[in-house]
Amino acid sequence: MKFTLSWLKDHLDTEATVDEIAEALTDLGLEVEGIENPAERLSAFTICRVIEAKQHPNADRLRLCRVEAWVEGERQEVQVVCGAPNARTGLVGVFAPVGTHIPGTGVDLKPGVIRGEASNGMLCSEREMMLSDDHEGIIELPGDAPLGARFVDWLAEHDPARVDPVIEIAITPNRPDALGVRGIARDLAARGLGVLKPHEVKPVPGRFESPIRVQIDPALKEGGCPHFTGRLIRGVRNGPSPQWLQDRLKAIGLRPISALVDITNFFTYDLNRPLHVFDADKVKGNLRIHAAAGGEALVALDEKEYRMPEGVMVISDDSGVESIAGIMGGMPTGCTDETVNVFLESAWWDPIAIAKAGRALKINSDARYRFERGVDPAFTEPGLEAATAMVLELCGGEPSQVVADGAAPVEDRAYRLDTDRVVSLVGMEIPAEEQRRTLKALGFRLEGDMAHVPSWRPDVQGEADLVEEVARIASLTRLEGKPLARADAGVARPILTPMQRREGIARRTAAALGYNECVTYSFIDRESAALFGGGDDATMLENPISSEMSHMRPDLLPGLLQAAARNQARGFMDLALFEVGPAFTGGEPGEQYTEVAGLLVGHAAPRDPHGSRRPVDIYDAKADAEAVLAAIGAPARAMIRRGAPDWWHPGRSGQISLGPKNVLAVFGELHPRVLRALGVKGPAVAFTVYPERVPFPKAKGTTRPALELNDLQAVERDFAFVVDEDVEALTLVNAARGADKALIEWVRLFDEFTGEKARAQMGEGKKSLAITVRLQPREKTLTEKDIEAVSAKIIEKVAKATGGVLRG
C-alpha cells in the first residue's frame, strides 16, 4: 500500500515529519517498506542565475555560461558548459555543484573540461532531477525565485506534488481498513500523531429514475452479494482527470486513464472503497448479479479473455456477462473518453467468495485484494454518494436516483474490554482510561465496558482483538521484559526424551567416526525415490517446486548419493557423508521415521607413505553401523542376516537384527545399478541405522553390574579349520563358543584364507578360517588334560555345524 504525505494530510491534521510518521507506522504494525522522498535526492540543487551565456568557442551546439551559484551557502561565479537550447543570459534555473549525485543519470558530477573549456557544475533539466521525462531544455524558474535557495523548498511551496514523499507500507491480512489512506490516518491519530479530519458524506439527490435497474439473485443475497447499489449519471464529460488526481495516482504507481476511471481508483486507495463504472450506453437492459453457470466468456479490462468457472459471481445484462463481480469489469461495457452516460456501481462482496473466484480465475486486482480482505459494509451506499459528488465535480452530469438491492450486512458486535486482563496479558501498565480512549479513537463505541466494533474492522472478533488494539496503539516498543520464573525451583531437570538423546548421540558418533554431516532436502525426484522403494503417488507433492523435488524421500541414501555425485563432479572422490533425519513411508501425518545413514565412497584414506590408502569395503560400513548401534545402546549380540532390500548388492550386504523381524541396521555395498542411476563412481558402501527400533531400557538405573575379575590364568588356543567356501564365519564362531559356555570367554576370528592358493592347498571349494578361543577358568587352574577336552569339543561342534575339519 502506497500513499503520499499530502494525501495522508487530506485526512490527518498533523505537523509530524515524514520520519516521525514512518516510525509510528512501523511501530503500529503498518510496517514501512520504503520511503521515496524527492527532497532527499534533490537537497543539493539550488536556484541560480545565468549571468551571461555566450557561444562556446569550439562547439556550435554548446554554450558557455557564467553562473551566479551558491555552493555550501557561498555565492560564487562558476563557469558551466551547457548544451540546452534555452540556456541564455538572465535565466533563473537550477544549479548542481561539482560532487552532486545526479539522480537522472546516476552519476556523481565531476569538474570537467568540455572542448577546451572548464565546466564546474550543471544547469539541470527536469529529467536530470527525475522530476519528469522533460529533457527539452533546462528548468526555467520565475525571475523572482530566491537565488541560492534550495530548489526543493521552492518546489514544496509552488508545486508540492513534485516533492510529495511517497510512503509504502506492508499491510497484514487482518487490516483491510488500512488499505485506504483514511484508515492509516485513523491509526496515526489514535497514536497521537495528529487529528483525524472529519469526513462527511452528503447524499446527492437524484434528479430522475435510473433506466438501469439492478437485481441480486435470491441465492446470492444470502451469501455472496448481500448489497448492491448504483446510479446512472448522464451527460458527463470524460477525459483526462485534473492534474492533482493524476499526480496522486502516478505517485503510487497507477497510470491515469480517464477521469471516471481515475475516480474509482482514487476511492479504492483513499477510502478502501472499490467502485466500478459501466458505460451505460453499452449496457443492454438491467443488471443482474448471479452465479455463473460456467463457461461464459468475458474480455475483462486487462484485455484478456476469461471463461467463468461455475459459481463465480458475475454481473450480467441482457447480452450476457459484463463484469466479474468484485474482481474486474469487462471491456465491452468499459468507460472510454467518449462515455457520456455512466452507471456507477458500489457493492459489497463476500470475502470468501471473492477469494475463491480470484484464485479460480487467477486474477490479481486491487478490487479482489480488498474485497477478499474485507471492505467496510456500512460504506457501500455512502461510498456511492461520495463518488457521485466527485463525478459531478470533475465531469459534470446529472445523477439519477440510487438503485439498490439487498441491505448492508452490518452486524453490531461488541466485546467486553477487561482493562485488567489487558494489563495481565501485555504485562505493561496501561491506565484503563487510556485503553478506552484508544478504542474510541479507533472508532469503537463504548457502552459501559462493552466495546462495539466499527464496521470497517472485520478482523476484530473477540476480546483478544481489543487487547491487541490497545497494546499496539500504546506501543510495544515501550514493553519491558519481566523475568519468567522457572516452573520448578532448583537445578534444571533434563528435558530430552530418550529418542532425542539417541538422535544426538548417533549424530556425534558418526561425526567422530569421520563422517561429514549433511542436511539434504526431504523431497527428491521420482526416479531416485523409486530406486529406494518410494516414488509412489502417496508420497508425491501436488505442487512441487521442480521435478527434482517431487516426492518425499523413502530413505536418506538417495540424497546422500546425489550429494556424493555433486562432490565427485567437483573432484572430491573420497567421501564420508552422513545424515540424521526423517524418511517417509507414506503421505499421512506420522508416516515418517528417523534414520541415520552413512555413505563411504572411494578410498578409506588419502595416499600416504604408510600405504594407508585402500578402497572402502563393507567391513568399514559394518564397523561404523555397529559403532553407532553400540553408542545408542543396542545389545551387543545382534543377528547378522542377509536379505537386505534390493538397492543393496545382494551378495555384499547384511542386516543387523534382533530376532527375525526387528532390523536395527543395514550395511553393505550399494547395488551397481543404483550407483549408475545416481551417477556415483564406486566403490560405495553405506549403512542405515533405525534408532527407533533399538529397544529402550525399561527402567533407568545407574548402577553397573559388579565387575568380575578372575585371578586364575586364562589360556588362549588357536584353531584353523578347513570348511566349504560358503560357510559363514559367524556360524563357526558361534559353534565354537557353544562348546563350553562357562569356560569359553570369547572366540575371535583372526584369519580367513581363500582364493586360488587356498583351493590349491585344501581342495576345490574350500577355504580356511582360523579362530582364537580364550578359556577363563573360574575355580582352578586348567590342566593340559582340561584344555585337550575343551579343544576336542570345539572341533566336534564346529564339524557338526559347518562340516569343517581341523587344518593339518
Binding site: 512501523t26 511501530d27 504494525g29 491480512p173 487482518n174 487490516r175 477469494a355 477478499e372 496479558l425 501485555v426 504485562g427 473477540g462 482483538d465 491487541e468 497494546a471 510495544l476 514493553l479 519491558e480 521484559g481 519481566k482 523475568p483 519468567l484 533434563p494 528435558i495 530430552l496 526424551t497 532425542q500 544426538g504 549424530r507 556425534r508 558418533t509 561425526a511 567422530a512 569421520g514 563422517y515 561429514n516 554431516e517 549433511c518 542436511v519 532436502y521 523431497f523 508425491m540 507433492l541 501436488e542 505442487n543 546422500l560 567437483r570 572430491f572 567421501l575 564420508a576 557423508l577 517417509f584 503421505g587 501425518p589 506420522g590 508416516e591 515418517q592 584414506a605 588419502p606 594407508s612
Partner: protein
C-alpha cells in the same frame, strides 16, 4: 699396592670394549691374576702381616670389580646410543590419516538453542512434517480461504482421485507442534519445537526447506513482558554477549494476539555482525500471546490459561552467529562447506562450558 691399584684403574678407564675389559679382569682377578696371586700369598704371611694386608687386598679387589662394572655399563650405554643414532626416522613424515568428521551447523545451532531453553525449563516437542491442514492452519486460526493462507506458499500432498479430504500439507511452520503438544500435555506447558519446515520458494535467500524452532509457554499469568524477557535472555545467551536490546513492533499473526515482530539491535560493519550495539535493527522473529482460539483448538481453556509463542529461523540464526553467507549452501552438501562451517564431534554446546569455542 698403590701402584697396582693405579695400574688397573687406569687400564679399566682406557679399555675400549668388552673384550679389553675381560682381559684386564683376568689379568687382575683371574685365577692367575696379579691380585689373585697376591691374595694366595696371604697364607704364607705372619698373622700380623696378614691382618694388615688382608683387608687391603680385599678392598682393592672390590674397587676393581666396581670399576669394571661401571666401565662395562658405560660401554653398553655408548653402544646403545650408537645403535639408536643409526635408527633415524624422518619425523616430518605425516602421521597415519585419521578421518575428521563434522556436525552440520543446523544440528549444532539446534543443540545450542535446546541448551538455552532447557535451562529455562522448556522441553523439546516434535510433530510430523507431513501435516493435516487442520493442524497447520485451521487450529492456528487460519481458516480456509483466508488471505493469510495464501501467504504461506504451501506445498500440498497429492490426493488420489475420490479422496475428498482436504490435501495434507508439508508443514509451513513449526506452529502445529504447539497444538499437538498442548493436546498431549495440556497446560501448564513450556516447550520448544525445532525442525524442518517447507515453503514453495526458491531464490537467493529462500530454500523450499528450512528450519524453525517454535516456542510455547502457557501458564496462569504469563505475559508479553515475560516473552520479551525470555527472548532477551535467549539472544544474550545465544549470541554470547553481555547485553542485547530487543524491540517489539506490533504485527499480525493469526495464531497470536497481540502479535509482535521482534528486532535485535546490532551493527553491520564490513560484513561483521555485532549484537547489542550499533544503530541497526534486524528483524529476527515473530511472536505474540497465543490466540484464545488456538488454545481452545488444542483443548486448553483460554479463560484459565494464557501464554506466548514465538518462531525463530534456525538456519538464519546459524548464518548470523557464524557468518555463513548463503542459505542455499546449507543443503548442497559441498564437502568444502561441510568442513569449513561444520563443528567437531565433541564440541557439544553446553551452558557451563560455553556454546561455542
Amino acid at each position: 699396592m698403590d701402584d697396582l691399584r693405579q695400574k688397573y684403574l687406569s687400564a679399566i678407564a682406557g679399555a675400549a670394549d668388552e673384550a679389553a675389559l675381560e682381559e684386564i679382569r683376568v689379568a687382575a682377578l683371574g685365577k692367575k691374576g696379579e691380585i689373585s696371586l697376591k691374595m694366595r700369598e696371604l697364607g704364607r704371611m705372619s698373622p700380623e702381616e696378614r691382618k694388615v694386608m688382608g683387608p687391603k687386598l680385599n678392598a682393592l679387589k672390590d674397587e676393581i670389580n666396581s670399576a669394571l662394572a661401571a666401565r662395562r655399563a658405560a660401554l653398553a650405554d655408548a653402544a646403545l646410543e650408537e645403535r639408536l643414532a643409526a635408527e633415524w626416522l624422518d619425523v616430518t613424515l605425516p602421521g597415519r590419516p585419521r578421518p575428521q568428521g563434522t556436525v552440520h551447523p543446523v544440528s549444532q545451532v539446534t543443540e545450542e538453542i535446546i541448551a538455552i531453553f532447557a535451562d529455562m525449563g522448556f522441553a523439546v516437542a516434535e510433530g510430523p512434517q507431513v501435516e493435516s491442514d487442520w493442524y497447520n492452519f485451521d487450529a492456528l486460526n487460519i481458516p480456509p480461504h483466508h488471505p493469510a493462507r495464501q501467504e504461506f506458499d504451501t506445498f500440498y500432498m497429492y490426493r488420489a482421485e475420490g479422496d475428498e479430504r482436504p490435501p495434507h500439507v508439508l508443514r509451513t511452520h513449526t506452529s502445529p507442534v504447539q497444538i499437538r503438544a498442548m493436546e498431549a500435555h495440556g497446560a501448564p506447558i513450556r516447550v520448544i519445537a525445532p525442525g524442518r519446515v517447507y515453503r514453495s520458494d526458491y531464490d537467493q535467500t529462500h530454500t523450499p526447506m528450512f528450519h524453525q524452532v517454535e516456542g510455547l509457554a502457557i501458564d496462569r499469568d504469563i505475559s508479553m513482558a515475560n516473552l520479551k524477557w525470555v527472548l532477551e535472555e535467549f539472544c544474550r545467551a545465544f549470541f554470547e554477549v553481555d547485553h542485547v536490546e530487543l524491540r517489539f513492533r506490533a504485527s499480525h499473526f493469526p495464531f497470536t494476539e497481540p502479535s509482535a515482530e521482534v528486532d535485535l539491535r546490532c551493527s553491520w560493519k564490513g560484513g561483521q555482525l555485532k549484537v547489542g550495539e550499533g544503530d541497526d535493527w534486524m528483524e529476527i522473529l515473530g511472536s505474540g500471546m497465543v490466540h484464545p482460539k488456538v488454545l481452545k483448538a488444542a483443548g486448553v481453556d483460554p479463560g484459565q490459561w494464557q501464554g506466548f509463542a514465538f518462531g525463530l529461523g534456525i538456519d538464519r540464526l546459524a548464518m548470523l552467529k557464524y557468518g555463513i553467507p548463503d542459505l542455499r549452501a546449507f543443503f548442497d552438501s559441498d564437502l568444502r562447506w561441510l568442513r569449513h562451517y561444520g563443528f567437531a564431534a565433541l564440541d557439544v554446546p553446553t551452558l557451563h562450558g560455553g556454546l561455542s569455542r
